[in-house]
């Protein structure tokens, strides 16, 4: 199987993630979309690393994992605090700030 297939898969995963962020209404699901985008990037990084024959991409992938974990901590804290206040995690319900 050619390495290009992995890149195509990564592109598809990234698009699914982006579509999830833009279309879904539950903050947790939206956040999962972001995580999917990050992991699609990881797949592409590792593939490119193999293509180019250097390790830079794999090192970057490790950093992305750590950053994603930190993002989960902060993101879930914010979503949980909103959920406890409003008993809802829908992004449509948070509409107090309007121009």
């Amino acid at each position: 199987m050619s390495l290009t297939h992995y890149l195509v898969l990564s592109g598809i995963l990234f698009s699914i993630g982006a579509a999830t962020v833009l279309l879904r209404r539950n903050a947790i699901i939206v956040f999962m979309g972001v995580e999917l985008m990050l992991n699609a990037s990881n797949l592409a990084l590792v593939t490119f690393s193999r293509l180019h024959g250097n390790l830079t991409g794999q090192v970057m992938a490790f950093f992305v994992m750590v950053v994603a974990a930190a993002e989960v901590v902060v993101g879930l804290a914010i979503i949980v605090s909103i959920f406890r206040t409003r008993k809802s995690a829908s992004v449509d319900d948070i509409n107090l700030l309007k121009s």
């Binding site: 903050a27 956040f31 950093f63 992305v64 993101g75 804290a77 914010i78 909103i82 406890r84 107090l96």
Partner: protein, 569 residues
């Protein structure tokens, strides 16, 4: 296998090490110091760290001026002239923002929730408030964000760029949600900022991946070399560059990636809004400048249509929408979007004078922004009638939740009493509440007017010099249509700054030209100005002095910046 210890030039890293080191110590202070000692310790630690940063930039300056700068950490960070200028500006603005955030004013309460984890309006929150708890974690969080901001424009590879972006963003997401009053708005702003920010950094990351796929390296210099030599993968390069630019433009708050700006600026605690508006913008423009000038100049013709569109849209949209805002924080938010457009004209210029102009503009804009939000944080509203103690605490929440229309009172039907003992509530952000402030508090209103004039770019203020420098750089770089639109947008923008000044000085507090103020002017909470503990006043004074000095005598600063404004390749 032999392990070679990397050679690290610690001296060049000191400006960054100060805030990050102090932030780590601050976390330990939170864990081990007794509660009463935390606030003074954290405050002293933060101020010393930021002062240390500024001093170490000063010590590095002569060397960098003579040699042009060095690569540190194996090229991951580039300590050159623009880096030092940006780090000094960020440290200075962060120092002022920390002072404003530390001010507890005459109400004895700072701008942050007593317990950010408590549910708004709950008994737990009320008891935390009575116990006088406070979240001193704010200071380490601000320091972490400052550290990330200082690394962001100094990065020499895309990996460091991504990590620095997250280090500066994650604390800001949290700080945004920690307002003491109107907590629902604050939490909502935090969530919006987080979801959109995470989305933008995922886009940036995919752009980095594509650039890596194109060039086989994350290093700026290698990518710049590959842009001119590699052929046949233009798709990867173009999409990658666009995604990276989108990620950076999001942080800058440029149209069409600006939609978070007004909401987040309005919802966040006001001192944090000032911090974000000034320092994030400085850091993001620094990174954008470096990417645009050192990585992508070979793609100038491909990227120009997009950058021109973004710059024009940013200037026009920011100015036009600011005209119809009725909330002072939203006015300043849209004005900051318009300013992002003005700075972009200098970035797009791709001329040597553009670097100097952008760096100077960022300093001028940042000083006025921190000062203006500092003043907003002092202008509060006061409940108009006797409000039961329990209702006082929840009033802010109720107004925020839309249960009560803003400005109404819990005890409906009661006559408003101008009671000096009535509790001071949140900031009086509605424009009508600022009417007549120039008569009751002339010094404060005059200082605010000074910042507004600087935003508007009136001569003898820093904003004028900045705008002049940026627009002339744009003309130098052949982007005269951008400069023309910029000048027109500035003229239109001056209208709403002047409108605010007229409102403060030439309108009576009981209403006046603003029609919606007439109907309920008597039931509206009274506007009061709380007395600062001294920190905020000192910070605002420094901002005002900077704004005037940079307007009257910009020469020495411009020359000093121009001397070092060369990027390491």
């Amino acid at each position: 296998m032999i392990f070679n210890a990397p050679d690290i030039a610690w001296a060049q890293l000191t400006p960054v090490l100060f805030p990050l080191g102090a932030a780590v110590i601050g976390v330990l202070v939170e864990a081990f110091a007794p509660r009463a000692a935390r606030r003074p310790t954290q405050l002293a630690l933060s101020l010393l760290a930021l002062l240390g940063s500024i001093v170490s930039v000063g010590l590095l300056w002569p060397d960098v001026r003579d040699t042009g700068g060095t690569e540190v950490l194996g090229g991951s960070m580039l300590v050159d002239g623009p880096t030092l200028v940006l780090q000094a500006v960020i440290a200075l603005l962060a120092l002022l923002a920390v002072l404003i955030a530390a001010d507890r004013t005459s109400t004895g309460e700072d701008a942050f929730a007593p317990q950010a984890a408590s549910v708004p309006g709950s008994g737990y929150e009320e008891s935390a408030r009575r116990a006088g708890l406070q979240q001193t974690e704010v200071f380490p969080l601000m320091l972490f964000a400052t550290g990330g901001m200082m690394i962001f424009p100094a990065t020499g590879d895309l990996l460091t760029l991504f990590v620095a972006l997250e280090v500066l963003s994650l604390p800001l997401y949290l700080l945004t949600g920690m307002a003491r009053r109107r907590r629902l708005l604050s939490q909502e702003a935090s969530m919006k900022y987080f979801l959109l920010g995470a989305f933008a950094s995922a886009l940036l990351l995919f752009g980095i991946v594509l650039l890596y796929g194109y060039s086989g390296s994350l290093r700026y210099s290698d990518i710049a070399a590959a842009v001119t030599t590699t052929t046949g993968m233009d798709g990867l390069l173009l999409v990658g560059a666009l995604l990276v630019l989108i990620g950076l433009l999001f942080k800058v708050g440029a149209v069409p990636f600006h939609s978070w700006t007004p909401d987040v600026y309005q919802g966040a605690p006001t001192p944090i809004t000032g911090f974000m508006a000034a320092c994030t913008k400085v850091a993001a423009f620094g990174a954008l400048l470096r990417v645009f000038y050192t990585v992508l100049p070979g793609m100038r013709w491909d990227l120009e249509p997009m950058m021109w569109t973004v710059a024009i849209a940013t200037m026009v949209v920011g100015t036009v929408i600011a005209l119809v805002q009725t909330d002072v924080k939203r006015v300043l938010a849209y004005s900051s979007i318009a300013h992002a457009g003005f700075v972009l004209t200098g970035v797009i210029a791709l001329a040597q004078s553009g670097i100097t102009a952008v760096l100077f503009y960022l300093l001028a804009y940042g000083a006025a922004t921190v000062g203006a939000f500092g003043i907003v944080s002092l202008v509060r509203e006061r409940a108009t009638a006797e409000v039961p103690e329990a209702a006082r605490a929840s009033l802010g929440v109720a107004v925020a939740a839309g249960v009560l229309p803003a400005g109404s009172d819990t005890t409906t039907g009661a006559d408003p009493v101008d009671d000096a003992d009535a509790p001071v509530l949140g900031e009086a952000t509605d424009l009508s509440q600022w009417a007549g402030l120039g008569r009751t508090h002339p010094v404060l209103a005059t200082t605010f007017a000074l910042f507004l004039l600087s935003f508007a770019g009136i001569p003898l203020t820093a904003g004028f010099t900045g705008k002049f420098a940026v627009f002339s750089a744009a003309v130098d770089g052949g982007a005269w249509p951008l400069a023309l639109i910029g000048v027109l947008a500035s003229a239109a923008a001056a209208f709403f700054y002047v409108r605010l000044i007229v409102l403060m000085f030439f309108t009576s507090p009981q209403g006046g030209p603003l029609s919606d103020a007439d109907a309920d002017a008597t039931t509206r909470p009274r506007t009061v100005v709380v007395v600062s503990q001294g920190y905020a006043v000192a910070a605002i004074a420094v901002c005002a002095v900077l704004t005037v000095l940079l307007g009257v005598l910009p020469g020495p600063v411009l020359d000093a910046i121009a001397e070092v404004a060369v990027f390491l390749p």
